[in-house]
């Protein structure tokens, strides 16, 4: 254990907050898709990667200012997520669950290889935006603008999302489909549209996460979505898969856990990536339905 002074500690808290926010944004996409289709969307991490690259190219090649580049990148990512669902998942809607999961693995593999081919294997540096990279001092705590921006953006996005899910008709339909697919269809919900919207929202959140991620950790490689993707699925499982609040809680648990593990026990910093998996296995063994999930009993 290292003993640290208060400013360093606060710095770590800010870092954990921003990492946790990023994980939460990505985890929501997993949990929403799983809630409706019972599918681990293995390609979600790769959609995240695409979001980051779209923003990167919008700024560097098309020389758009950031306030135009980011919305464009988000729109393209959303479109891509919808296309992915249309071509890789919809044809298998009525197949056994293993088939659709394998399709997800195949899609992930395809996007990664496309990424390597089109974007090249060399890492690219995400452009720095002066406005967000200033260093603020609050008392003796120094934080970069990005670290403050991430939790704020996440909070706003989450509020909008909760409004959509809880207060609008579309949100009600989404909840109905995730509760009971067949019954929702019988009640006149257009299930295909709802699934498209769900993929759109999930991909949009992934794109927001990717842009913020790019500003905080400005190194882009085509495989950058692999690890965050897996960890965020884990975050969704920890929180109770299918539950959006659970995904947010799970994301923050992982974010805080990882940063604090490295901060307090530097000897274990090599095991940082293992933290999520260890927590996952503990949760699965103790309470497989996750923190917010309700245990279901299978009837014969």
């Amino acid at each position: 254990m290292t003993i640290m002074d208060f400013p360093t500690f606060m710095q770590q808290v800010v870092n954990s907050l921003s990492l946790g926010s990023l994980y939460a944004l990505l985890a929501i996409g997993y949990t929403m898709v799983y809630g409706i289709l019972r599918l681990i969307n293995f390609a979600h991490g790769d959609i995240f990667m695409l979001g980051a690259y779209f923003a990167f190219y919008a700024i560097t090649i098309f020389t758009l200012p950031w306030y135009l580049a980011f919305p464009v990148a988000i729109i393209f990512t959303v479109l891509f997520g919808i296309i992915l669902e249309r071509f890789a998942y919809r044809p298998l809607r009525n197949s056994p669950r293993i088939a659709i999961m394998i399709s997800a693995i195949g899609a992930s593999y395809l996007i990664e290889n496309l990424g390597v081919m089109i974007f090249g294997g060399r890492p690219e540096a995400f452009p720095t935006i002066q406005l967000f990279n200033q260093i603020f001092s609050i008392g003796s705590v120094k934080v970069s603008g990005v670290s403050l921006l991430i939790p704020i953006v996440t909070l706003v996005v989450l509020l909008v999302l909760f409004y959509v899910i809880n207060k609008t008709k579309t949100g009600m339909a989404m909840r109905a489909v995730s509760k009971d697919y067949e019954a929702a269809r019988l009640m006149g919900v257009d299930v295909n549209t709802i699934i498209t919207i769900t993929f759109g929202i999930g991909s949009g959140l992934a794109a927001v996460g990717a842009i913020l991620w790019g500003m905080k950790y400005p190194q882009l490689i085509p495989l950058m979505g692999l690890m965050p993707g897996l960890k965020c699925f884990i975050a969704a499982v920890i929180g109770g898969i299918g539950d959006v609040r659970g995904a947010v809680i799970g994301g923050f648990i992982l974010g805080f856990g990882e940063i604090m593990l490295v901060a307090f026990i530097p000897d274990l910093s090599g095991y940082r990536d293992a933290f999520a998996f260890v927590v996952l296995i503990l949760v699965l063994l103790i309470k497989p339905s996750g923190i917010m999930g309700k245990a279901t009993v299978e009837k014969v």
Binding site: I98, Y271, I281, P288
Partner: protein, 365 residues
């Protein structure tokens, strides 16, 4: 009997291949053999038990590292460990290959037991993600055990596997290809026996309906664990060969992309068919190499097409996506090869074409 003859024929063919093929072709042949071992080991759990496990890369890493650490001569080890000296109990070991490979498999099987015991109580996606998690943990531990595994630097300059058979009169040495293909054939025979025996019937019963199987008196958990341990053993052996054929072992090799590769081979062949697994392992390994021309530039008549690096993998993954979407049961489904089928083949072809002719006559009338 027919099986024995077939094995002798395959043996002779491989012997000839070994004499007349160049190194590159031999390497493809060897890789096919390794992927046969790996895909059969995955089919056992994913196909016959219906458990979706994604932990293969971890077990392969255990096998690969065991063999690499035990068989590399002490001199080569010293060259490798320049950051952190190797732990003393490994520095001087130099085992022969056969015990090292077997130990690699056994250690992987032990890991399979330790992981399987808690994890196999989970279902479907949860099992997939938990096994994937364990495989990643194994890899991360290997990355961090600097003085044992040399961390992210990996081990280089591994000696090629060869096994001496010290018979009194005809003592001879089996080279790498021979070892791989003997292992592959043993794997095939073992899996066929296992799957057709009473254990195999129990596995299939569990796959079809777990609760019904339990009601019939099958100890579901015991059978799952058994299959998982067996599959881990073969994954360890396959990993040992794979590490050896590459000449280097490092943790990045054993990311879950490696597991994806095997999943895709298994899907191509048809989950639930050993024959499909064997065929797919050979076809996909060969196809991966044949598609290599896509990456480099080539001449198409007067037009020189400049290759796009990475196109090969894209074409490959596209092909696999098409198979998954349009033929989700793979090339074989759950059908198996049998001598009976082969003997009756000419007859059935005759029958079917005869039937077609008759049908055409009816239509023309």
């Amino acid at each position: 009997m027919l099986t024995a003859i077939a094995i002798v024929i395959i043996g002779v063919l491989l012997f000839l291949a070994n004499m007349f093929m160049d190194n590159y072709q031999l390497r493809i042949l060897n890789l096919s053999g390794i992927y046969i071992i790996l895909s059969l080991s995955m089919i056992l759990i994913n196909g016959f038990l219906g458990l979706f496990s994604l932990g293969h890369a971890g077990f392969m890493a255990i096998g690969a590292y065991t063999v690499a650490l035990l068989t590399t001569p002490p001199m080569a080890k010293q060259m490798n460990y320049y950051l952190d000296p190797i732990v003393p109990w490994l520095a001087e070991t130099e085992w022969s290959f056969l015990p090292a490979i077997l130990l690699g498999g056994v250690l992987a099987a032990i890991a399979g037991f330790l992981i399987g015991a808690p994890v196999l109580r989970l279902r479907d996606d949860y099992l997939a993600i938990a096994t994937l998690g364990f495989a990643e943990i194994i890899r991360i531990v290997f990355t961090n055990l600097q003085s044992v595994t040399n961390g992210s630097l990996g081990l280089k300059g591994l000696p090629e596997i060869e096994i001496e058979i010290p018979l009194p009169l005809i003592g001879f040495t089996l080279n790498l290809s021979a070892c791989i293909w003997i292992a592959a054939i043993i794997t095939i025979l073992f899996m066929v026996r296992l799957v057709n025996g009473s254990y195999g019937k129990a596995f299939k019963a569990i796959r079809e309906d777990e609760i019904a199987a339990e009601a019939m008196g099958i100890n579901v958990f015991k059978h799952k664990l058994l299959a998982f341990v067996i599959a881990s053993f073969f994954a360890g052996v396959g990993g040992a060969f794979l590490g050896n054929i590459m000449g280097t072992v490092d943790p990045l090799m054993f990311r879950f992309l490696l597991t994806y590769n095997i999943v895709l081979i298994v899907v191509f062949g048809g989950i639930g068919s050993l024959t499909g697994g064997v065929l797919a392992a050979i076809v996909i390994t060969a196809a991966m190499e044949l598609l290599r021309f896509l990456d480099s530039s080539f001449d198409m008549g007067p037009i020189a097409v400049s290759g796009i690096p990475g196109l090969r993998m894209v074409v490959f993954s596209l092909l696999l996506m098409f198979i998954i979407i349009f033929k989700p049961r793979g090339i074989m489904g759950v059908r198996e090869f049998s001598w009976q089928w082969l003997i009756e083949l000419p007859q059935s072809i005759k029958n079917s074409s005869f039937g077609r002719k008759k049908l055409r006559k009816d239509v023309s009338k």
